[in-house]
Subunit: 370 residues, 4 copies
């Protein structure tokens, strides 16, 4: 169903931006796993708007509550239910949009689909706020992957066309990548990051917004994870990434640029490294061939559109009166959501990879013993 | 499961490149639908290698047989089973690759995953030949969509960096698009197409290969098809597209390029057209917002990597003897698979859209009456 | 997954007997449906232990909270989340059972499966308390079915071998059946009900328990609901009924007794009634043939085992010390759960039938208009 | 979907009684498993009508062909496709039933559901012939379970009310049970079997039919297989059993009879056996509590209705002319299908148990090595 994701590590999200709560039910974990409270809260902090130049002034503590599934700090075999109560809601801001759809928001198709009954407050269930439950579930998945030696890194690849330092796909600088999770603005090259932040600030002053790309690098995956065709690593990851509002494109390895190469350039030659492990000299394939992991770093990029809510007047249509009508969006919004999407993309990546590994039965390292 | 796709229009494929047969079981269609024999055979013809410069010399008639599900030329409520017997197989060509994986092919991760038991002949179940059942299923879906006024068009957006004429996303030239399906080399600008074909020929002479992009335009979709989050139009389409071997990227509307725009540029202003229909002046969103169709043309691009099989010597590793070893691929292969992927991408698009419409219960126009 | 049920009307339950809360997430409803608050609360009351002779003295108000999915009293297209906070928990009663499994309870296999990490308090997620979320979801399904003229009735068919009045499968006394929902002890023949209650009382005095059967009659189903084979009405209903703790058998129509009949006795002759509707003279088939509804009343019986918790000493094994050890169960428990299971079985029936109808796309009467 | 079953061991069947072929696609098996050709053919022989008194004279060789998924006698990671060509079809026998539904057959609800477009020849996709693919898939599952020490036995529990010797649920006579698979008429007590066969013969002479019950006993299951609630062993097994045409009831352990017992009688006391294994003195629970296996023998009974096709005149309705009309069924049919259902029930049991074990990840003994 539309609000559920995954086969073995299966999550179902609920809530709307201004409902009483948002939450997630997670089914499929074995009993006896340590529950990573701190990791979850830390990840939620990364997604929170905070007081940064690039984010909305809506500011909630995003403290979560464990409703079920944990006994004495460990999973008990029942599904987990984790919930965040909504606070700091300013629902009145949205009244005008019931019949006046905001460009690039789901307002108009939702109005048609739900015949006007959808929750317009804060974007309802189309809100980016629906990614908070994903961050919670993803923190658990990530914690389990990390105990198996699998690390997920990501950086802002670009914002407003300003690019971070390129990552060497075959031999990434893991030391630099490992610092990203602690950065408020996760770029490798902080000077470029400074330029990006300035671009955001300029856009904000213009009552405008900017978009960008996020690049994910995963290290430590075993060879052969994933399935052919419709449970392939790419298919599952892309499916999940397009479940994040604002995603407009997903590519692996060299992606679209690779389509311009010749086979002799794009193919990655195999060699045996000093540990007699099979590797490729280059990694244009981005760690996945035929849907299966190759043991090389997994490389994925996600295109994030500029924030749809901008402060400038825009052309729209009054759906009730059936006339063209200008609208100006009030309320709070991020001039750039790319930094806040980073932990969401990491969470989704973790969710998919854990699910793929569990589907493969290749999960010997989840200890369920005390 | 990995070989099944769809929720209401549900297909399961079987076969390997050199198995006795490849086929597809299709469940979910109502009884009483006309079975489009000719449309299926025509679509298979479009995917066939033929005698074209860009394609392999493996050449099979690809005649299909209806095993079950049709009575007197109509569906009977039981699943359809459509099958193609494999012919013209030269299995001996592949013996050397059992332990000598071809770069950019699934050979190596498959060897690890299946512990050497996978079918290496012709790529086994990783073969592009597995897309023939998709073309059959897609022809049925397309036929049903067309009876509802939904048209799927696609063209070769680019090959080897040479681009076809750009499509106006908001107001495509449907007359030009409607001619594509009859073209052997589906481009809008035949001069550019000639340049692409020359690039393919040069690559072939160099024992090399080239890749490209395919762009899909869908006209006539109602507003509100699709679901939020994980059954969104983008999520379902991207999932399916990455189930096609050789896909490396998927984007909608302006996609990756849109991530460089500002919100004021990227947002598409609404207006009422002369029929009082809500439209957008531009269509950067590619016909989908928040996972739902907006009534504007659906725009999707798919990046196809250069054919992995090339005639040049390549570096590999002998997995049995654990030594580096050069390999040269014999056998037949396409210097560019992009033209042959076009009908596959169209078929996948039709499958996803029919499924999404059936999930929405918005399928009043399938007549099941005589 | 194990805690999810249904395809189009899809529910996911969470919670344990002594977790902070139990609840249900319901996906798949269209927007604009009236939310039946009162019907849900009334159904929960029917399941509550109350102060009756046959039930536990654990007594919770079972007031539910709507977490998400409802705006202005109507569904909004987002999943519903309904929750009940747990109260009146006496967790200490259960400490002894960690290593001393109660006969006929899930304690022992759960101990092995979860390696001792499952929640032993109140039976954890194996508790009958997990049926309260089902009752909430079922109330919604029932409300929708009733607006379409479909009525679900059920009575206690027997307790401790004492039988209620037999129902005529072909022509049930719907007047008598319609009174059942308002009865505290839902039998058609109250004298027989009195005898059953006395049997329960005697068992209680003996620190023992009794079981019984529940019979469901559904009126008003259209012809042809359900699918062949694995989405048949019987398959889906039986699957759901065995998801209710304590169910040991499910049969339709004449069921097991019918297996002793001859074909000439068991077959139900067709005839046209005065409205030119096709009916059967008898209804041994219980309203379902080949997985599809026939338009005759749907008849199902469910066998409920005697409550596993009894006050008498029982033989068990100390799993920690690996010795045989007698146990006596303290705490509160029902001498007979059959009366409390009745609304659960009705809820499950409603859930399955609504799902089957939605799968068939035969749901024209759900109005989503104001 | 309706023609698919299972989550990890996933099968999809196709075909109709008089289609060109019937078959099954099986997804989920690891590569490198030996393919049990002989076991499959032997199992098909057990289901075949043969020249026995109780069965139809339609007689097909039921030779199957492997379409895909096997290389050098082993699974290759691709789905298996196994097919049987239909032969010996006498389609003309069925013409009269297009508008004259046979009592207790799916003809009438199918006519309504499919608006007259379903395949009426031989019962179309409602035919018992659809169980042949199940027998093929079940043979593979059974072969794998047996290599893990899990044995599935079943006997005709009763026919026409005549009962076979009772099985001791706690300590079955496995020696006697192990002889059943080789018996043409699988009963423990051959004298009782003789009485059953005579009852069948008398019914046949009366142009009538008889039904019965099949009892399954599974030995060797580990403790803790299955999940709570909706993936419980009972829920999955019952779901599958009701996917067999003619099933009218399913019960586990003491089943319906157990509902008349008191808790003190029904509860099974635990004890440690001489190997320090936890066992129960009695086995009223039938090897499953709370959805999980307990390590005791799994006990299930399935009620099979008398064959619907009988030679006597029956009352029906002409659906075209809308008048009551008598019908007499011509063509071939079994006076009792119970003996032929036995291998189908065993196959379904094997399919479900293998799937449940794979879902639990408890399948360490499938060797995928040479």
């Amino acid at each position: 169903m539309s609000f559920s994701l995954g086969q073995k590590f299966r999550l179902t999200v609920y809530g709307q931006s201004h409902a009483k709560a948002i939450g997630v039910v997670i089914d499929g974990l074995p009993a006896g796993l340590d529950f990573p409270y701190t990791a979850i809260q830390t990840a939620l902090e990364r997604r929170r708007p905070g007081k940064k130049v690039w984010s909305t002034s809506r500011n909630e503590a995003d403290l979560f509550e464990v409703k079920a599934g944990i006994v004495d700090g460990k999973t008990c075999g029942a599904p987990l239910c984790l919930e965040i109560r909504n606070q700091d809601m300013q629902s009145k801001d949205y009244a005008q949009h019931e019949y006046l759809p905001r460009p690039s928001h789901a307002d108009y198709p939702a109005f048609v689909k739900y015949e006007g009954h959808h929750d317009i407050r804060g974007g309802g269930h189309f809100s980016g706020r629906m990614t908070a439950p994903i961050v919670m579930a993803g923190s658990i998945a990530r914690y389990l992957l990390e105990t198996s030696g699998i690390q997920i890194y990501s950086h802002i690849h670009s914002i407003a066309g300003i690019k971070d330092r390129l990552v060497d796909f075959a031999q990434p600088d893991f030391k630099a990548l490992s610092e990203l999770v602690n950065k408020e603005f996760p770029v490798i090259d902080d000077l470029q990051g400074q330029a990006m932040k300035e671009a955001i600030l300029v856009a904000k002053e213009d009552k405008d917004s900017v978009g960008g790309q996020v690049e994910v690098i995963v290290d430590g995956l075993p060879v052969g994870i994933g399935q052919p065709l419709y449970d392939s690593c790419e298919a599952k990851l892309a499916h999940a990434m397009f479940g994040i509002p604002a995603t407009r494109g997903v590519e692996f390895g060299t992606g679209f640029a690779g389509a311009n190469l010749r086979g002799s350039q794009h193919n990655d030659p195999y060699y045996l490294d000093s540990n007699l492990t099979v590797k490729t000299l280059t990694n244009h394939h981005g760690g996945i061939i035929g849907g299966l992991t190759t043991g090389m770093p997994l490389i994925m990029r996600v295109a994030i559109k500029p924030t749809s809510s901008i402060g400038q007047p825009q052309a729209s249509v009054n759906l009730d009166q059936q006339v063209n009508q200008e609208l100006t969006i009030e309320g709070r919004h991020d001039p750039c959501i790319v930094p806040r999407v980073v932990p969401v993309i990491e969470a989704m990546t973790a969710i998919c990879l854990l699910d793929l590994m569990m589907m493969d039965g290749q999960w010997p390292t989840i200890s369920t013993k005390n």
